[in-house]
Symmetry: C2
Subunit: 141 residues, 2 copies
DNA sequence: CTGTGTGCAAACTCTTTGCATAAGT
DNA sequence: ACTTATGCAAAGAGTTTGCACACAG
């Protein structure tokens, strides 16, 4: 058995109220096949094209946002021109490499956060993001 | 002489190797007058215009980036179309309100972060950002 | 005076939108 | 068939850039 995952993509879509169209299934497959990952619209689009699913950029945008609303993926809080989507919806954290706009998962996510503040009235915490910004260590000159 | 602050803006600029030009001083004044704050280029531009300093948008962009390089302010890690600059350069944290793209300081920043991971080879931690994403609490329907 | 900084407008990048065509149920 | 999704290209938003003019030292 190589791909047991394909089934769940369709399921996943259906149970989110999304029609399992060719494009959506293909994108979901790509997204969830390789475990947790973060990707931009462009990256996913490129992958899809390479995988022989010539989906349009606009559709990738749409699809990723639909997936986000459905809670299948989420948007990462990084300061970058591009939006990063993360397949891991749980509270976990990231390195962000300055200058390269690159996102790395933090290997063993055993960061502990204590003393979380109370959210303001009427608000609740949707997600806690810890972004550790990295810079290239300056070689002493 | 009404404004004693102007002196420090000029100083601040000079010691960062930036010429204290009219625009830079004005922007620095605006930025640092009201304590810690986070603002977008547009917001600052608007404030400047209102304050009678008709600086151009491009200059605000330039200036904020220069300030950032000089370490006077920093860029916030939030997922938003706009870039947020923060006058507080120390490690402290933020609420980010979904949908409204609004940034709030976390009042008493006594969040504790434990078990910070080692940065990858050759990299060092520039900054740790904790972004607590808030959503409007669903009124039970 | 000389070198930097500024303003303007055009260019760029990422993202969204409108509408005709195609696909799902 | 009827509804929803997709693709394309154009429009939008935020940001950057190039070059002539203006200002700081």
């Amino acid at each position: 058995m190589t791909k047991v995952t394909e089934v769940s993509s369709e399921e996943r879509l259906r149970s989110s109220g999304l029609r399992p169209t060719r494009q959506r299934v293909a994108l979901a497959d790509l997204i969830f096949a390789k475990g947790d990952r973060h990707l931009t619209v462009e990256e996913l689009h490129e992958e899809a094209v390479v995988a022989g699913v010539p989906v349009s950029l606009a559709t990738v945008y749409n699809t990723l946002h639909q997936f986000t609303e459905a809670g299948m993926i989420r948007v990462l809080a990084v300061e970058s021109a591009k939006t990063y989507f993360d397949t891991n919806v749980s509270d976990h954290h990231h390195f962000f490499i300055e200058g390269q706009n690159e996102v790395l998962d933090i290997p063993v996510s055993n960061i502990e956060i204590g003393n979380l503040p109370e959210p303001p009235e009427g608000m609740e915490i949707a997600h806690v993001d810890v972004v550790i910004r990295l810079r290239r260590k300056r070689e002493r000159s």
